[in-house]
């Protein structure tokens, strides 16, 4: 098997604030293979975005800093955590592209979209202005914009939200990056537009064989596009595995909670939609044991004292929960979870 595009080991990111240190990411490890789509899911404030932006070193330092012992190995040779800012500029946009959450604010209002797309091309490739503009037009065609020749001369305010997100995708793809990071690319869009953007990302992934990391809290998006899923909670990965395993054989109570919070077509309409009671812990002072213990209906004594290790469910599916320990009592997942595997 080829080398993974990205190997993240024990990534820890903290923010130094006046009130103390916020441990936003507390030891995240995962691999991403070529052509793979990895979804990172979790509630707001669980460290998804910080993880994603740290992969490109986009979180400003200070206040944030990557802790000792963290490793982000890109393409088997570049250690992102140790690159100089100058080297990092050559990685950003060229090797890794990024799509942000809100297309309404992520484009410069005073530059034409053509200029904004070609900017990255001019920086990373030895081409002239006309050539870069031509490439920008091609990219707009690729992301499904009508009249690309006219669009390149337009300003962001002349485009709708969905079109702007297409422009963002064109910017991210401008230099054929090996890795595309999409930080909640659909959250700020209308539902119908969301579906179009997800379809577009999936098509592009198939056409270009780019690896994609997609951050989202929308499990519908995950089901549409992801090959593998990483469930994050309070700055840690609590469960990771292939899409079908996560949806049909989830092992972590937090994953159960997430799945049960999604409305289903086949559920009883008279019942209220489930939610996970409580809120994520304070990351100024993360709990000693399992961070989810306080909200977990299955929590045992040990959960509050010791952080669980990752237990393997299968070769590529693992869950960080004491329930997986051989000595733990057998717990059946709640009704409606698992057992619907279609493949």
């Amino acid at each position: 098997m080829a080398k993974p595009v990205l190997e993240v080991k024990d990534l820890r990111v903290s923010f130094k604030m006046y009130a103390g240190e916020v441990q936003a990411v507390r030891g995240v490890s995962f691999n991403l293979n070529k052509g793979e789509v990895l979804a990172i899911v979790g509630e707001s404030g669980c460290g998804k975005s910080v993880t994603a932006q740290t992969l490109m070193r986009l979180v400003p330092t200070p206040p944030s800093y990557i802790k000792e012992g963290s490793s982000i190995l890109f393409d088997g040779k570049l250690e992102i955590t140790e690159l100089t800012e100058k080297k990092m500029e050559q990685v950003r946009g060229a090797e890794i592209g990024m799509i942000f959450q809100d297309p309404m604010t992520s484009l410069n209002p005073t530059m034409t979209i053509g200029a904004q797309i070609s900017e990255g091309i001019l920086k990373h490739q030895k081409v002239g202005k006309t050539e870069a503009m031509k490439r920008a037009t091609e990219l707009l065609t690729l992301v499904g914009m009508s009249n690309p020749e006219e669009r390149v001369h337009q300003y962001p305010h002349e485009l709708s939200g969905g079109m702007r997100q297409r422009v963002m995708i064109a910017i991210a793809l401008a230099c054929n990056p090996k890795l595309l990071i999409a930080d909640e690319p659909t959250t700020a869009l209308d539902v119908t537009i969301q579906a179009q953007i997800v379809d577009l990302l999936r098509d592009i992934q198939k056409k270009t064989d780019t690896s994609i990391i997609i951050i989202t809290h929308d499990l519908g998006v995950v089901a549409e596009i992801a090959h593998r899923v990483l469930v994050m909670y309070a700055g840690k990965v609590v469960e990771q595995g292939p899409l079908n395993d996560i949806f049909y054989n989830p092992r972590h109570p937090y994953t159960w909670g997430l799945l049960r919070s999604v409305p289903r077509l086949d559920s009883d309409n008279s019942k209220e939609l489930e939610s996970i009671p409580g809120s994520p812990p304070d990351l100024y002072a993360p709990p000693v044991g399992c961070a989810f213990a306080a909200r977990c209906p299955y929590a045992m004594e040990i959960c509050k004292e010791k952080d669980p290790a990752h237990f393997d469910v299968s070769d590529n599916h693992s869950s960080a929960c004491w329930l997986m320990h051989p000595d733990a009592p057998k717990v059946e997942p709640p009704v409606g979870i698992g057992g619907h595997a279609h493949g």
């Binding site: 986009l58 604010t105 900017e119 920086k123 991210a172």
Partner: protein, 309 residues
């Protein structure tokens, strides 16, 4: 929009009328008269003749209506101190130097002010930021009547680097323009800094960074251009301020501008000059403020709608 413009024009005329009237009567409260003081050697008969010649023997309310009638016909009267020169011709002769001084100082203020503000924002909360903002505080706290004589004395007379006064060549313009610009530099620097800091936290700056642009390119292409927008909107009133605020600086550096004419007119009770110049300056201010308001109305739909109501 048309209704809004008409409304503004009516306000403008009322404002000018109030200013003319107030100046006219306030001026009459000044002690003394245009023809000399108590120790003058003129006989009472001659004095009465002079007064009658200039129409000062009539009651003040009559003088006021005669003057207003003249003003409406574009006649601002004849100067008392320079007999034979009309106020309009004085404005025509001397406004050029004032306008030049004002514009040069405006260019100074914009270049230095915006640069200083941008620099401070980039060095946010570091030594550079504190230094730039200290300079700005000093600039705004020292009035031009303090800085102008100091500059003229030390750089002009003692060091002899630049001419201490007069208005002959480019070198003569540096010190007056700078002295006049100081306060504006400070205001613009503070505004630019705030605006840059606001822009720097916006999402599209992160997008620019994610393209791999260097910090220099991000600052030049993405930040400054957007940060300048709010600053541009206050440039109108600031320009008026600088162009009409040349009084003291012109007097100190002996610039043959309108400001120094104004000062001499006041000290010698030159009634027609005082009212004429006041109207002229007030008109500039009111017209530029009017134009700025129209521009806002065009840019910001909220203001346009408010005007319609």
């Amino acid at each position: 929009m048309l209704k809004y413009v008409l409304q503004r024009i009516i306000y403008m005329i009322i404002t000018l009328w109030v200013i003319v009237t107030a100046t006219f009567f306030l001026m009459k409260l000044l002690p003394g008269n245009p023809f000399g003081d108590a120790q003058m050697k003129m006989s009472p008969e001659n004095f009465a003749i002079l007064k009658a010649q200039y129409g000062l023997d009539k009651p003040e309310w009559q003088q006021y209506f005669i003057y207003m009638g003249n003003v409406l016909q574009g006649n601002f009267g004849v100067s008392y101190q320079f007999p034979g020169r009309s106020v309009v011709s004085v404005i025509q002769n001397n406004f050029k130097a004032s306008l030049e001084l004002g514009l040069e100082s405006l260019i100074f203020s914009i270049a230095i002010g915006l640069g200083l503000g941008a620099y401070a924002a980039l060095k946010h909360n570091k030594v550079g930021d504190y230094t730039a903002m200290f300079i700005a505080i000093v600039g705004i706290s020292i009035p031009s009547f303090v800085i102008s004589p100091l500059l003229s004395l030390y750089i002009g007379v003692k060091l002899g680097w630049l001419p201490a006064g007069l208005w002959d060549g480019p070198l003569h313009r540096i010190m007056p323009a700078f002295a006049l610009a100081l306060g504006t530099i400070a205001i613009l620097a503070r505004m630019m800094r705030a605006s840059m800091l606001e822009v720097s936290s916006l999402d599209y700056i992160k997008t620019a960074k994610s393209k791999g642009l260097s910090s220099r390119a991000i600052v030049l292409r993405h930040m400054i251009r957007n940060a300048i927008l709010p600053v541009v909107t206050i440039l109108g009133p600031i320009a008026v301020n600088v162009i009409t605020g040349t009084l003291v600086v012109e007097t100190v550096f002996a610039v043959p501008g309108l400001g120094s004419q104004f000062v001499t007119a006041i000290t010698s009770n030159d009634y027609t000059m005082i009212t004429g110049l006041t109207i002229f300056y007030a008109a500039i201010l009111v017209i530029v403020v009017f134009l700025t308001d129209i521009a806002y109305g065009l840019i910001d739909p909220r203001i346009r709608l408010a005007g319609r109501r």
